[in-house]
């Protein structure tokens, strides 16, 4: 989307047909919430997709059912990939019902990810709402890996209820670090919940960062991202240092099918991560 944002490599011609998925085998399955599943997959044969950067996505394919765009939540040098999927339609329903040994198809990675390197030297605030956490998971680990390159790191994670929190145990391990500040909040909870209650924007005033030198990475439902970005900007974070990840219907993921258009942008090709400064005027208009 922007000149200072790292550009994804052009999807190489050597990848073969741009719409042909590559078979991957499901290695393990974690039930995150009643409707959300994390899949760890690995290449079935010699073919694998190129490595991805935090914030990019793939098209995940269920044989005989169809394809959906899903963010990459993690990966390793062996070509394993982590995807967290919520059952919302027939394709995601099929994907959330897979078991180890099953096959999925993957093509990608696509789009522009989070410009984590741009945040070096300043403070970082990561704000995730619900299933906005998976596309930010690798950002968190990138920050951990290069922890000395960044100032203060604030993580705010909100979900509707305690049982909607994903990566629960993993996130508890983040809490044990003394170089990261973590706030977890839920919109509504019963008596079993000892943490904060309230939407994520209510936690922004408590974040500790130096606003003009802070980079924000925000992912979640569109309304949550819009209100969070507004709250951050109100605290003095620059709109050009605030990044959000847009979600739209996608069929092709390479800018040919037209579905994901948001104003002048193809979310698949120009995003999904955008600079808030560029999107703010369009986010103010309904049904763009």
């Amino acid at each position: 989307m922007l000149a200072d944002q790292p550009r994804a490599p052009a999807h190489a011609e050597t990848m073969g047909h741009p719409f042909a998925p590559i078979p991957y085998t499901v290695r393990s399955v974690v039930l995150e919430t009643p409707d959300t599943t994390t899949l760890v997959v690995e290449p079935h044969g010699d073919q694998r997709i190129p490595s991805s950067r935090p914030g990019q996505f793939v098209m995940l394919y269920a044989f005989g059912v169809g394809e959906v765009p899903i963010g990459v939540a993690g990966g390793n040098a062996e070509g394993q990939l982590i995807h967290t999927v919520r059952s919302a339609g027939k394709v995601t329903q099929a994907l959330t019902h897979l078991t180890p040994g099953d096959t999925v198809g993957i093509r990608g990675p696509y789009g522009h990810g989070w410009p984590v390197a741009n945040a070096r030297g300043g403070d970082v605030v990561v704000v995730a709402g619900g299933l906005g956490m998976p596309p930010l998971r690798e950002v968190v680990y990138e920050l951990f890996r290069h922890r000395d390159s960044f100032g203060r790191v604030e993580i705010v994670y909100g979900a509707r209820t305690p049982k909607d929190l994903v990566y629960y145990n993993e996130i508890q391990s983040w809490r044990r670090r003394d170089d990261v500040r973590l706030q977890v909040t839920v919109d509504a909870a019963g008596r079993e919940w000892y943490g904060d209650v309230g939407v994520v924007t209510t936690r922004i005033p408590d974040c500790r960062f130096d606003p003009p030198k802070t980079t924000a990475f925000v992912c979640g439902p569109e309304i949550m991202m819009k209100l969070t970005a507004q709250a951050l900007v109100e605290r003095g974070v620059k709109p050009e240092s605030t990044w959000i990840s847009m979600e739209r219907n996608m069929k092709c993921a390479i800018g040919l099918c037209g579905h994901c258009q948001f104003g002048p942008s193809f979310v698949c090709r120009d995003g999904p991560v955008f600079c808030y400064r560029d999107l703010a005027p369009l986010l103010a208009v309904r049904e763009v």
Partner: protein, 386 residues
Amino acid sequence: MGEVRVGGQYVLDRARFPEFLSALSACGYDVVGPTVRDSAIVYDRIEKLDDLPVGWTDRQDGGKYRLERRSDEALFGYNVGPFSWKRFLFPPRERLWTAEKVEGSFVVRPEPTGGPRLAFLGVRACELAALDMTDKVFQGGPVADPGYRARRARILKVAVQCGQAGGTCFCVSMGTGPGVRSGADLVLTEILSPGPHRFLLEVGTPLGAEVVARLAPPLSSAAKDEEGLARGIVERTAGSMGRRMDTGGIRDLLRTNLEHPRWEIVAARCLSCTNCTMVCPTCFCSSQEEVPSLDAQAVERWRRWDSCYNLAFTELHGTSVRKSGLSRYRQWMTHKLGTWHDQFGTSGCVGCGRCITWCPVGIDLTEEVAAIRASPGTITTKGGSR
């Protein structure tokens, strides 16, 4: 023979037009061109002269298309119909790949690309511009569409200068016509009078020259007055456009008027029927469908035309981003005339008028642009953009 040169201008007598069709075939092309079907002029296979709409014309206006007899035997005496050439490069339905289950995994076989070499006969100036636009969409970005690119590489374009403007034409406003400037292998201008019924035939490329060189005896070179006659025909057409649109600053005009009250007025008429997107020569939206075999061991992946007017087009988590008809009409028009510039560096509209003619309620985008231009930035409603 052998002296046909690029840039050369020749005279083709109407009586020898069948020979011209044969020359196209002899060069290895299947000819597709205009023909009458279901009371409209559509594009399909042309095997003989009589397949063309000889002596027919069309009358077009908002929501209106009628064929009428002409008083002469003109071969190209009409304007564009509901079909556009995009259907031969980007078919309405196309299989992308097949796959079958093999030992706990699956194997994907991409659909072979290629197919016959096609000669597009009767491409209008606005349609040449449309082909440039779909070229940018399908093969101008980081990833080219394999099917489009393969088919596109096998096309010969035989353009025809428009001898008249249709009731919904506004190519002059969009800077795409009516005169063919470049991009054609051959350009025909139909001259009905004075003198015998004939064509001025201009050679644009070596591929075009190859076709003309097949004609024996060779065509005679055009005299100066034939060229003048042809120029006059195009000028007359340019002066009789049925519609016009002021395109000055249109990208910013639309970008800053996303909440103009005019959208509600047009949305009250729009049926979201998708006709305008189906007939548009540049609309490129598509969907993909999975078609499994009954035993679920094999699948076919199909692509089909889709439209931003469909509710499911923007479906996300079981709801749609653009629920209202207003938002869907606004998306179509602001994309076509505005954000297309951001994406591809040109307008997405060529001024062919098909969307006006084939709209069942006669919505006219030239009228909608004029209405917004007449009172820009008058309001902000909910949300308040500007």
